[in-house]
């Protein structure tokens, strides 16, 4: 019961909080692509892979009091951040254990900017294509973000790092 909710609370707990809705969306997507068992369905939206189901579950977890949402006015936009509450920690007390590697992947993702994670997740969305075609797709769907060749290389290197981390 509510196992999928518990996985999200565990994720945010391991991350010691996540700042930015977009960042959270991309982190879960990347974790899912790294074969961690998240069930939320994703589609391609403005900022890359996006899950309505994830948005809904996060709202529910806030309503349940397991997650705390804070919003900060950044002038031109509002930034949301999520942390686990005391009740949330109780809630995941009996949940299934998560693989050790998840914590390490989360730590690596958390250090990165949401712009970078947007690039990584969008590349992963097209991971059934050869590398050159993946890059071409990103340039088409993200034509306004002007990602550089260097950023592309860094994103592929990061995907490699995460894959290696899981294989440990």
């Amino acid at each position: 019961m509510l196992q999928e909710h518990a996985k999200l609370v565990q994720f945010i707990s391991l991350a010691d909080g996540v700042t930015g809705r977009k960042k959270l969306q991309k982190m879960i997507y990347i974790a899912k692509k790294m074969d961690f068992p998240f069930q939320e369905k994703y589609e391609l939206h403005i900022y890359g892979p996006y899950s309505e189901e994830l948005t809904l579950r996060i709202e529910e977890l806030c309503e349940m009091g397991f997650l705390a949402e804070n919003c900060e006015d950044k002038g031109s936009y509002v930034q949301y951040s999520y942390g686990v509450t005391g009740e949330g920690r109780d809630f995941i007390g009996d949940a299934d254990e998560v693989p050790d590697t998840l914590g390490e992947c989360i730590g690596r993702m958390k250090e990165k900017s949401s712009r970078f994670l947007e690039l990584v997740s969008t590349l992963l969305y097209f991971d059934y294509l050869p590398r050159e075609e993946q890059i071409a797709k990103v340039h088409i769907v993200k034509n306004k973000l002007n990602y550089t060749d260097e950023e592309m290389d860094q994103a592929f290197a990061f995907i490699g790092e995460l894959s290696a981390c899981i294989r440990q």
Binding site: M1, E43, E59, E60, G65, Y77, F91, V141
Partner: protein, 433 residues
């Protein structure tokens, strides 16, 4: 090669359609695509899944809907966009093909099937377009890269964003068809709006189709129709009950197969999905007729859970439901889970929380974190304005998500079971039924 792309039928063909009156086909490519086995398969997949168990008229298929989306896009291109400088008429055929084929990858009772086997119908649409299929061979007669172009439009990665927006946006041909078609076949009085007016005031722009300011009220009506249809039809709690049972049947069959259970009717069509070795041919081979045949025969299986769930689905003995507030009642759920187990009723199959949620309209302004492209109005001075800035009605419902949670359970089993009556009574009193 190029001749095939522009080849017209010697006489226009028409399909009589209850929503659009007539669906007109002049292009040989479109006619040939309709004749493929992958497109004909859509006749055997309900447009609204289990909704026919509530609204008995909802027997229409994804075949009907796909033709409807094609017809709307054809009218937009040929009647509203043609000759305007922002529209590139060389995109006509790829847009029509994408409209016709956008739902090709839907499986039987797609929502439930995708959920249990972790599949994605959009990915299967792409695979059918690009794989060894009848559809692919028709598209390749246009040009070698044409299947990829159609797949990119449907995958929202086509360079011309205007083309993508006709198939996939907050005011696209897909939604305009399904709202009207589903309203017609369910018989409800919601879902109707003045599509002719919307098409008349739709204009091409660089990134998406936009609506002339004078058409704002028709768009308001469309958004309100969508809002009503979601809550009156698509999220109807009884059809959700049928879907819950459907999910549980598939999960039970999968578990039994993994445990080595000997089926009287072997799940031959499902095997590759159970062990994740399926290929495109396995997927295309499935339709709702096949699933229903299995469900009917599985009623006579020895496994009581599978037999009961199939009987419920085939003979419409659905689960009862109550409103459920996860925030306040999640502890109650744990308590019920334990009581169900004590009473000998497996809660993994007979106690289910189902949630439905929808955003009627969402806006996006640069710098914000939201994710959808908004509807833009074309003002008299040529400026584009986001719809909710101009419409009070749309502003009132913009960005407001509505969610509904239900807890499903077999009330009949709890009332009629002969064993552990006290426990069952206790469960019923917690469920407040």
């Amino acid at each position: 090669m190029m001749d095939y792309a522009t080849q017209k039928l010697s006489e226009e063909k028409v399909f009589k359609d209850p929503v659009h009156r007539y669906i007109h086909v002049r292009d040989q490519v479109i006619w040939d695509l309709i004749a493929t086995r992958e497109f004909q398969r859509l006749r055997r997949i309900h447009q609204l899944g289990t909704t026919y168990l509530v609204f008995h008229g909802a027997e229409h298929s994804r075949f009907n809907h796909s033709l409807g989306v094609y017809e709307i896009v054809r009218r937009i291109i040929d009647d509203s966009f043609s000759g305007r400088p922002q529209w590139n008429d060389s995109e006509r055929l790829v847009t029509l093909c994408a409209a016709l084929l956008h739902d090709l990858g839907h499986g039987p009772f797609s929502h439930a099937f995708e959920k249990v086997f972790d599949l994605d119908h959009e990915l299967f649409t792409q695979k059918i377009l690009l794989g060894d299929t009848g559809v692919n061979s028709v598209l390749r007669r246009v040009s070698e890269d044409f299947p990829r172009k159609v797949a990119d439009v449907i995958g929202k990665t086509y360079p011309d964003k205007l083309v993508v927006s006709l198939i996939s946006s907050q005011i696209d041909a897909d939604r305009m068809d399904y709202l009207q078609r589903d309203a017609y076949f369910t018989g409800v009085s919601y879902g109707h709006f003045d599509m002719e007016r919307i098409l008349r005031v739709m204009r091409p722009s660089e990134e998406q189709a936009v609506i002339k300011q004078s058409g704002m009220h028709a768009v308001e009506d469309y958004i309100m129709s969508r809002y009503q249809m979601y809550w009156q039809v698509y999220f109807h709690p009884v059809s959700r009950s049928a879907e819950v049972i459907l999910v549980k049947i598939l999960q039970r069959a999968k578990v039994l197969s993994e445990e080595g259970y000997t089926f009287k009717q072997e799940p031959v069509h499902f095997k590759s999905f159970f062990d994740k070795t399926y290929d495109l041919a396995d997927y295309i081979a499935l339709d709702e007729y096949i699933l229903m045949t299995y469900f009917e025969t599985w009623i006579r299986e020895d496994d009581e859970i599978l037999s009961d769930l199939c009987d419920r689905f085939v003979n419409r003995r659905l689960f009862q439901y109550i409103d459920f507030n996860p925030a306040k009642e999640y502890r109650k759920l744990g308590e019920l889970d334990a009581l169900f187990r004590k009473a000998g009723i497996d809660p993994d199959y007979y106690l289910v929380v189902d949630s439905s949620s929808d955003l009627p309209y969402d806006f996006y302004r640069p710098g914000e974190e939201e994710e959808r492209l908004p509807i833009h109005l074309l003002m008299r001075d040529g400026e584009l304005r986001e719809l909710s800035r101009e419409s009070d009605i749309v502003d009132a419902i913009s960005g407001k998500r509505r969610t509904d949670h239900k807890l499903y359970f077999p009330e009949d089993m709890l009332r009629e079971g002969k064993k552990k009556k006290v426990l069952r009574q206790q469960i019923l009193s917690i469920l407040n039924t």
